[in-house]
């Protein structure tokens, strides 16, 4: 069966390889920005690219449980890495916004408070902090069942991230709506009546 082959293959891939692979686009995009490869306005391009990769990682993270439950593909050993990578990209995205884009401290705070799409994005970042801090074996043991409860914050983070993208776009644009639709679909799969439908 295909899933078995994937599972065998996945067991052979070391987690550090996932880290390396997933961080490569950040390094590459930054390099492009330095060397004129991101066009006339590299700051926004870099900021946007990092944000989109973060959203893609959110989606990847949300796929892991349904993949196992419905298709029997087990990628659970990469889930922590995917979560922490998502947080890393969100941090980089935020850092580019703070240091390269806005730069002005007073305006940063004004944007967070007054601009709804920034407020939403920043809230998602804040919600991720406890998740990142507890993404280790010690916290997992100490928190016990509460760990699972806490990490359901991921669902909120995912929706906020997509809303952030939709809200900052001008006019009626398809791409951000697709992100939200995919995230909502992945969350729907966790809804009890749907979650019971398992693969044969």
């Amino acid at each position: 069966m295909v899933q078995d082959r994937i599972n065998v293959l996945a067991r052979r891939v070391p987690v550090w390889a996932v880290w390396l692979l997933a961080l490569a686009p950040a390094v590459w995009t930054f390099y492009l920005g330095l060397t004129g490869g991101l066009g006339a306005e590299p700051i926004k391009a870099l900021e946007r690219e990092l944000g989109e990769i973060a959203l893609q990682l959110v989606i990847l993270g949300l796929c892991i449980t349904p993949l196992r439950r419905h298709l029997g593909v087990n990628l659970i050993r990469f889930r922590r890495a995917v979560g922490l990578l998502t947080f890393s990209y969100v941090c980089l995205h935020l850092l580019v916004w703070l240091v390269l884009d806005v730069q002005i401290l007073a305006q940063i705070w004004a944007d967070i408070v007054k601009r709804p799409y920034v407020t939403v994005g920043f809230s998602a970042f804040l919600l991720m902090i406890p998740l990142a801090l507890t993404s280790n074996d010690l916290s997992l043991r100490r928190l016990g069942p509460r760990w699972r409860q806490l990490h359901k914050l991921t669902y909120g983070v995912a929706v906020l991230g997509a809303v952030h993208f939709i809200w900052l776009s001008k006019g009626f644009q398809i791409e951000p709506l697709i992100y939200l639709a995919v995230i909502l679909a992945l969350l729907a799969l966790r809804w009890r009546p749907l979650a019971r439908i398992r693969s044969a």
């Binding site: 004129g36 066009g39 006339a40 306005e41 700051i43 390269l100 709804p116 009626f172 644009q173 398809i174």
Partner: protein, 300 residues
């Protein structure tokens, strides 16, 4: 009458204060109805450094060709711009289709180095070539009842991949008050750096209103209608709370989703800083009088 407003190119850095002074002197002359000879006493050269050709022609908002800044440069080559004509109708003495070549034969092409400020808080400096809109309107003869000018962009689904999506209500439309349209700063641009204007920048002719946010400067114009009512405008129809009819550059009135107090000058690379945005994009001395007594927070 062409050449009512003059600037010269210079490679020195942007120093808005100096630019202010020059224009104040120039417009003072114009306002007093004094001839060009007197205005020729420019104190110092305009000190704006134009963006390079690549920046100007690869970083564009022209949603008919896609919403990514690079989409227009990638997709707009399919736009047929020859032959081209502009329908001028409504409250004019001589309505009809004006062929582009016929217009060009009658207009005086000037170079205008203008700041260009996008509503998204980035800016460029563009060396346009074009003619004053007032001269084109004079061809058609504006009737006394006219108060506004409506503009329309060409709509060709076969040549414009972006119009498959309802990003905006196509065709793109814009409008100006008649006095704004007749202002000597308002031009129809037909070139950049002395070359024909590229499709992605609005070939073969587009409006340029340098004291307003870029989206007012409608591209690839096929219709100009003189009316007595404020015409609908695309972004206002899409979101009236965010985009007003006037849309004058104003650092004190925020876009609901972002500040307009500062702007990023395109071309500065990864480590450039934002600079303060100027009222009326730095053209206050020329155009502030158009809005005397108006609440610009209400009429944003």
């Amino acid at each position: 009458m062409a050449h009512r407003w003059i600037n010269t190119l210079s490679d020195t850095d942007v120093t808005p204060e100096v630019a202010f002074l020059n224009r104040r002197q120039m417009i003072a002359g114009a306002a007093a109805g004094v001839g060009l000879s007197l205005m020729a006493q420019r104190a110092r050269a305009e000190t704006l450094e134009p963006n390079n050709w690549d920046d100007i022609t690869t970083y564009n908002n022209y949603y008919e060709f896609g919403t990514d800044k690079g989409d227009p440069a990638r997709n707009a080559r399919t736009l047929t711009t020859k032959p081209w004509s502009v329908t001028i109708d409504g409250l004019v003495d001589r309505p009809g289709d004006y062929a582009f070549d016929e217009i060009m034969a009658k207009m005086t092409i000037e170079e205008r180095l203008y700041r260009f400020r996008c509503v998204e808080a980035w800016s460029m400096v563009v060396p346009w070539n074009g003619f004053e809109l007032a001269d084109l309107l004079e061809l058609a003869g504006v009737q006394s009842g006219a108060k506004y000018v409506a503009f329309e962009t060409v709509l060709r689904p076969d040549e414009m991949p972006g119009v498959r999506y309802p990003v905006l209500d196509w065709p793109y439309v814009e409008g100006l008050r008649l006095d704004e349209a007749l202002h000597p700063l308002t031009i129809m641009a037909t070139g950049i750096y002395g070359r024909d204007i590229p499709n992605q920048n609005g070939a073969p002719l587009r409006l340029v209103v340098p004291w307003k946010y870029g989206f007012k400067s409608i591209k690839s114009v096929v219709r100009i209608t003189l009316t007595d009512k404020e015409p609908p405008t695309s972004w206002n129809k899409a979101n009236a709370g965010e985009y007003g009819f006037y849309s004058n550059v104003n650092p004190e009135v925020s876009h609901p989703r972002w500040s307009q107090a500062t702007e990023r000058q395109i071309g500065g690379g990864l480590f450039s800083s934002r600079v303060p945005t100027l009222m009326f994009n730095g053209y206050g001395n020329e155009v502030a009088g158009l809005y005397a007594g108006m609440d610009l927070k209400k009429n944003f």
